[in-house]
Symmetry: C2
Subunit: 85 residues, 2 copies
């Protein structure tokens, strides 16, 4: 079966977010003074074959710890669903 | 009132996703042969002051077209909610 893993990776609270700061400053320069904070993360949509949904989730979690997420400074949330649903 | 705009920016279907390809190859090299596709996007969490939720949404949409989204190659989805909810 084919599954889609949607992965949101973001910096832990307290870790300096340079990209977010830069975007915040640009927004202020453009006149969006009402913006108080910007945090930037990554979004990955992974399509994979797996026997069932819990196997797909285990595989995606293994990929996170092997390659995709630096757990010293990042956290992630993961949603796995059958493709086409 | 304080609102949080969660913005997901991704490449349109058909636009070559170099980052996604690179991650796909790395996953294959690590033995995750079951992965068929990877697409990469950006996630922005914007905290802003606004009179109400629809004003917050309008402001966030204006930021998207002014700075955050390149609508030639990117699409986005936006969720706006009151902070703390």
């Amino acid at each position: 079966m084919r599954y889609r893993a949607s992965l949101l990776i973001y910096l832990k609270e307290g870790v300096l977010d340079i990209q977010g700061r830069t975007i915040l400053r640009s927004l202020h320069d453009l006149g969006y003074g009402e913006v108080q904070d910007v945090r930037v993360g990554k979004y990955l949509r992974i399509t994979l074959e797996a026997a069932d949904e819990s196997a797909a989730r285990r595989q995606a979690e293994a990929m996170c710890s092997d390659l995709l997420v630096n757990d010293l400074i990042e956290e992630y949330s993961l949603v796995v669903e059958e493709e086409g649903k």
